[in-house]
Amino acid sequence: MKTEATHSTSLIVNEAAYNLELLPWVSLLDVLRDEIKLTGTKKGCDHGQCGACTIIVDGKRILSCLTLGVMKNGSEITTIEGIANGEKLHPLQQAFIEHDAFQCGYCTPGQICSAIGMLNEAKAKTREDVQELMSGNLCRCGASKGIINAIMEVKGDYHE
C-alpha cells in the first residue's frame, strides 16, 4: 500500500515484473517472501551467517537478508523458483537429487543459487576451490560432501 513512508520499487523476479510500494526497512528477503509470495528463498539466520537466503541479483549471488528491497529498485533477480525450465530441472537441481545433497532441504535453495553464482564467476578450479567458494552456505544436516559432489558433477570434473 502506498503511503508517505513507502518507495515505489520495480523488481524483475524470475523474468516477471513487479511494481511494489515498499517500506525502506524491509529486507529484500522479506519482500520476496511476504510481498511477492515466493517462499522458496529461506530465512535461516537473517544475519548473513548461513547463506540460506542466497539469490542472484543482476548476475551476482548475494544475501537477500542483508540488503533492503528499496536498494534493489530496477534489478533483475533470480530465485530458486526461476531456475528450472518448465518441468525440466536445472542441472544442479538434478545433481542434488542424484548425489543425496540434502536431508531437511532448508539450505538447498540457497546452496543451489550460490552454486549457480559460483559457476558463473568461474573462479573455482579445484574441488578445494569449490569448497572454499561455497563456504558461505552452511548445511546443518551435514550433507556438505553430497553438495560438493553435485556441484563438481555439474562443473564437469566430478571424481568420486
Partner: protein, 339 residues
C-alpha cells in the same frame, strides 16, 4: 530495525548534504554490516542515504605516482579479482578473499570494509554492558568470554578487535584514504584512519560524521614478489580471524631491503611495529630473524583469561607467514598448507 526514511544519491556532494552532519543519518553502500547492526538495534537511523549510484567513486585508476586509486564503492569481490590488483597487489587480493563469504564479498564495498564494526559478542548483545555501544556502561569482555579479543593496544575500557582482513593488507601496503566532507577534501594515511580504543572506544576511526570515503590510494610498491597473507581461525573458511598476518618483503641479493608486517584480529586496528620492521632491514630472511621480529611485535602483548594463547599463536603465525612470503605460491587463504 527502527523505522527510517531512505534516499538515493548520485554524487558525493549530494551524499554529504543529505547526511548534513546528523549522527542519525547513515550512509549505506553494501549494507552487509549496517543492515545487520540495524536489525540488532545497535545502530539506529532516522535516514539511510544510499550512495551506490555514485559513479565517480566506483573506478580503478592508475596514478601518476605509479600507484593505483581504488574507488570506495568497488565491491570487495571486484577488487580481489581485478587484474591490476591481482598482478600488482596480490597481498590485497589474498587478504580480501580470506574474508567473509563469496556472497558478502559480492555486496560489501571497499569503503564499507573500512567502516565495519567489531564482532565482539558483547557489542552485539544489547543486554550486556559495552563501552563501544553504550559509552560509560563498562566492558563485559574483560572479565567475560574474551577468546576473540585484543592482546595489543587495548585499554581497560574496551578490548574489542577490528575484524577486517582487507584492512590488514592495506595497512601493510601504506595505503591512504581519500575523504570528502562539508569542509572539503582531505587524505588520511592508513595508519591514522582507525583508532585504538583508549578512552573513546565508541569512536572506531577518524572519519568525522558527515564525511565520506571516496577512494583508497595504493602506493607504487606492491610487494608482488614476496608477500603472504595468513589467517588463523576456528574453522578454515567464513570465520573472523583469531590472528591474521600480512607480510610484504622487498628482498635484494638475499638481504631484506624493506619488510612490512601487519597483524589482524589482535587489536582495535591493524597492528604494525616500526621497531620490528626496522630490525629486519639489511638482515637475511631467516626463521631466526623472523622469530626475533615476532618477539619484538608481541613484547607488550597482554592476554586475558581466554585469549592468552593468541600471543604465542601470533608469534608463530608471523614467522610462518614471513617464510611463506619467500615463496608466495605456498600460501592459501586459510591456514593451509603447513610448513
Amino acid at each position: 530495525m527502527n523505522n527510517f526514511s531512505y534516499t538515493k544519491v548520485s554524487t558525493t556532494d549530494q551524499a554529504i548534504s543529505q547526511i548534513d552532519g546528523d549522527i542519525r543519518n547513515k550512509i549505506v553502500a553494501g549494507g552487509t554490516n549496517l543492515n545487520d547492526l540495524l536489525k540488532y538495534f545497535i545502530t539506529k537511523a532516522d535516514k539511510l542515504v544510499d550512495i551506490n549510484p555514485i559513479a565517480e567513486n566506483n573506478s580503478i585508476i592508475r596514478l601518476e605516482t605509479g600507484g593505483v586509486r581504488i574507488g570506495a564503492l568497488h565491491t570487495n569481490a571486484d577488487m580481489a579479482y581485478d587484474p591490476i590488483i591481482e598482478e600488482r597487489y596480490p597481498l590485497l587480493s589474498k587478504a580480501i578473499l580470506a574474508g567473509a563469504s563469496a556472497q558478502i564479498r559480492n555486496m560489501a564495498t571497499n569503503g564499507g570494509n573500512l567502516m565495519q564494526r567489531t564482532r565482539c559478542y558483547y557489542f552485539y548483545d544489547i543486554t550486556t554492558p559495552c563501552n563501544k555501544r553504550d559509552p560509560g556502561s563498562g566492558c563485559a569482555a574483560i572479565t567475560g568470554y574474551n577468546r576473540i579479543h585484543a592482546i595489543l593496544g587495548q585499554s581497560e575500557n574496551c578490548i574489542a578487535v577490528f575484524p577486517s582482513d582487507m584492512c590488514v593488507a592495506l595497512a601493510a601496503l601504506n595505503a591512504a584514504v581519500n575523504i570528502k566532507g562539508p569542509e572539503g577534501e582531505r587524505v588520511l594515511a592508513f595508519a591514522e584512519f582507525h583508532r585504538l580504543s583508549g578512552d573513546t572506544p565508541h569512536i572506531d576511526n577518524n572519519l568525522k560524521h558527515g564525511e565520506i570515503i571516496t577512494s583508497i590510494d595504493l602506493p607504487a610498491k606492491g610487494f608482488e614478489k614476496n608477500y603472504s597473507y595468513l589467517k588463523l581461525r576456528d574453522r578454515s573458511s567464513y570465520s573472523f580471524a583469531l590472528v591474521s598476518v600480512a607480510t610484504g618483503l622487498d628482498i635484494e641479493n638475499g638481504i631484506i631491503k624493506e619488510a612490512r608486517i601487519a597483524l589482524g584480529g589482535v587489536a582495535h586496528k591493524p597492528w604494525r611495529s616500526t621497531e620490528a620492521e626496522d630490525f629486519l632491514k639489511a638482515k637475511e630472511p631467516t626463521r631466526i630473524n623472523f622469530s626475533e621480529a615476532a618477539a619484538i611485535i608481541l613484547k607488550d602483548a597482554k592476554g586475558y583469561e581466554h585469549n592468552s594463547f593468541k600471543i604465542e599463536l601470533a608469534k608463530r603465525a608471523i614467522v610462518r607467514n614471513c617464510l611463506m612470503a619467500l615463496n608466495p605460491e605456498s600460501q592459501r587463504p586459510g591456514a593451509k598448507p603447513s610448513l
